[in-house]
Amino acid sequence: MAVSELAGLFQGDLPMGSPMVTGDPLLDGPLLWAPLIVVAIKVLVIFVLGLVGTMFMVWFERKVVAGMQNRVGPNKAGPFGILQTLADGIKLFFKEDLLPDRADRFVFRLAPFLAFVPAFLVWSVIPLGGDYSGGRDGIVTILGQQTRVQLADPPIGILLVLAMSSIAVYGIMLAGWSSGSKYPLLGSVRASAQMISYEAALGLSLAAVLVTSGTLSTSGIVASQTTLGSWNLVTTGFIPFIVFLIAATAELNRPPFDLVEAEQELVGGFNTEYSSLRFALFFLAEFMNTITMSAIVVTLFLGGPRPPAIGNTALTIPLIPGALEGTIWFVLKLLVFLYFYVWLRATLPRLRYDQLMNLGWKVLIPISLGWFLLLAAIRVGDSNGWNVIAVVVIALVSLGLGYLLFTAALRVSSRQRDREGAMY
């Protein structure tokens, strides 16, 4: 497998074919000052870039939406209004920090951080760049230390992303509850129902990627996508990518899935009672999550910071050192998805609640589960040397039978509900 060969290049003591050991070469051996300083620099850079990137995202969204709606958008603060977010931030800092009388004080103060911190933590496992020229597998040298351009590379990598997105639910849920008022509570109950529902589809389409890449580590997933043809977008057959994109949009509570803060119905959703700095934290978390999710999509399906390559010839940007090239490709791919999310916001009307739940439970989860099982069957057949066509045909037939049973069950249940005279 290409992955273990590449890993072998850098860990010469490992015999070929041994279980793949990914991980940051920085932390091999005794812990000295230089690795510690490198880690500290990485933390600082990710923190600053995260905040600046979020500010940029807010400006980008406002500007692009404005363009799509034939308006000018922010244009006063700084060139092209790029400092508008900074100005808004300063304004929010100086606003009065209200604490509702009936609020649960401690939880009310805690909730914004529960929303904000997970959004940051996910960045620690995303490969942000690296040197992929000359078979270097994304390893760069900083201060004489060989390392990857990502804060941490744990073997459980991508599971951390899922865990953090499930912790982010707490922020929204507790914010709504602790406000001690009706609309925020309704908003947060909607939000948690939505996020729990779509997490399943998200996890299943992610599992499809894990089955094809054969590793949980984010750097391993990137390493398995060497050429355009081996991008997980292609090898998993597009369906998991589409399901993941839709489920991610729902996880982010972005339009068309923004029932959580449907202004017309809920005043403002879970954050109605928040003001000043605490509101700013929710606001930042929302936009940072958009960037984070796009980064995850890029890592999982589009080869992360790896330059697009066909066969052995990779696309290179002239005059740029290889170590920076990875970051440029990563940002370019990221921008595609950021634009895509803004585009969705400007185009699509909000879903109704029943449409949201039908899409999540009756369409996305069955599709992603079925596709995952198909990929798993192909993978098992591959390692056992079975005939690929026979495996696919048998898998499709049994999946089709399962689908028929599923629709039959749905029909029976809806008939029963009609007979009972239920309203939904």
Binding site: D104, P155, A163, M173, L174, W177, S192, A193
Partner: protein
Amino acid sequence: MTTSITGAMLLAADGINIAMNVGFGIIAAIMVFAALSVVTTRNVVHGALWLVVVLGGVAAQYLLAGAEFVAISQVLVYIGAVMVLFLFGIMLTRAKIGADTDLNNSSWGLGIPVALLMLGVLVWAVIDAFGDTVITDRGPTPTVEISDAFLGPYLLPFLAISFVLLAAAVGAIVIARKD
């Protein structure tokens, strides 16, 4: 849970990673405090949040023991799914802010012998399984080894646990159905 007790036994042995044991002690103290708070707090949501702290402490102990995959599964399953559903249920039914007076029912005393029994079973299980063996510091356990273990020799217990979950799901549907 078994990991924490193994850790306690390691504390008594010689030539042991001191930093790890100090970490274990601190996290264990926080967990005990949080566990007591779960049952003494006067607000249901606060109780659930203290339970999140306890479960997070378990995950931290797993991390300390080098079981990264188990730790992240603990966060995903217990903190990310089970506790969210707890809170969700509480919010839908009795999302009251402030103190509740009727949180203890009359049979709370029964909990003490049950808790002691559970403790006894766990202690017995750990002593029976490990005895005097000193567990060497092996570093993080690779995920591949864990998956090979539970989809290989431990497949049957794994499936049994899945059936418990299935039973719980069916039970939830039965309770939720109005007929």
